[in-house]
Subunit: 255 residues, 2 copies
Amino acid sequence: MTRKPLILVTNDDSVKAPGLRFLIEIVRPFGKVVVVAPDRPQSGTAHAVTVNHPLRLHQIAKEKDYEEYSCNGTPADCVKLAFKVVLKRRADFLFSGINHGTNSSINIIYSGTMAAVFEGALAGVSSAGFSLADYSMDADFRPSAAYIKEIVSAVIKNKLPEGVCLNVNIPSIQREKIKGIKVCRQAEGTWQEDFIERTDPQGRKYYWMTGVFIKTGHGKDTDEWAMAHNYIAVVPVHFDFTANKALKPVSNWFS
Amino acid sequence: MTRKPLILVTNDDSVKAPGLRFLIEIVRPFGKVVVVAPDRPQSGTAHAVTVNHPLRLHQIAKEKDYEEYSCNGTPADCVKLAFKVVLKRRADFLFSGINHGTNSSINIIYSGTMAAVFEGALAGVSSAGFSLADYSMDADFRPSAAYIKEIVSAVIKNKLPEGVCLNVNIPSIQREKIKGIKVCRQAEGTWQEDFIERTDPQGRKYYWMTGVFIKTGHGKDTDEWAMAHNYIAVVPVHFDFTANKALKPVSNWFS
């Protein structure tokens, strides 16, 4: 008899987020599941790690093939602490999400959901992150359930190449409108910020950041295109930031 | 007469860090310099952005061709706020650092210094980040001054290709030992964490994160190799996370 796979589940919207609860139910049939997730929302924390205050773990549940913990750190902290302190070994697989809000295109760079996925891949664990294009806390995750299950199953069956993980983004549409899964590249895009200026009772100015996402590319092979055309976008991502095409021209500056 | 270039300078070690002061002195002769930097150390904040509390700006200095501000946000916040509120336009160039500590290899993913650089590049600004492989606050930045000047000058002269920025890492060695500048790729590597477990006066456990960097590749064309061989490592980086080589194999899972 083969050993059940050990699966770590985490997110960045906190242990209480409906998206996490939904993902847990999907992955439980696949193995022993351990959840280590932030005790409060951590959206926009990106790949931050905690070095200035100590980390705490709180056990929430322990039953057959299932354990659950909350942690006062970031998603990246959760993964590091899970492998080293909770599991005392790497998990076999890591699934993060389901995020309330998209992490397609450049959003990946700000994403705590995907930071957890990168931490998994950095430790050599096959890892995937799921995000639904609906920021509300009562977002409906049910329409894509069968596809998420298919992706989880494919990751467990095939395992990911070393250093590669998956960024899965799901359009917020009805089940019958979803056309399928599209493996694609990260779309070009950026945020155009705006700041709302206010004055506090002491007469000092302060600013709230707001912004809109601007798509800057128009390829049909991107996550943005796939989602706009009712596909679930799967982007294989890595953490090598080298801009290979620029190596030669920049070298010429210094020769 | 051509207009002086407008240069934004920032960092993640705070407005008071000696590395920032050193970089300001290097770039001032090149144009009008505006500094917007965090009011406290932000190492390890990565690409975090502040959405749960308002941002504040504090003017520290204003003189001919020079302004300086501190901000209560992250390095990414500083850049967004600088372009939109302080400058009311994009800068022509952005330089970040000099970080107290290396951002070579996978360290880039945790780096606030480089998050600021990515923000610059995302806004279409030619941007470069500098880091010295010495974490102490009395690190000596002088040995590499001429090289940093050469890189700043090359960025201003040539401008970077769209979507590309520079991650510059400097070995902490004497001036006469520095062999020159090497343009190279990001080395493979990861952090192996460890957690120190302690018990608070209430009997509850808490954890301090520690860790060691593990180099996992052995190429001679990497930033780690260059620094170990007394070169200043310049890696052109971008923010497209797509693992192109994995597109085909992962596509096959779903066909």
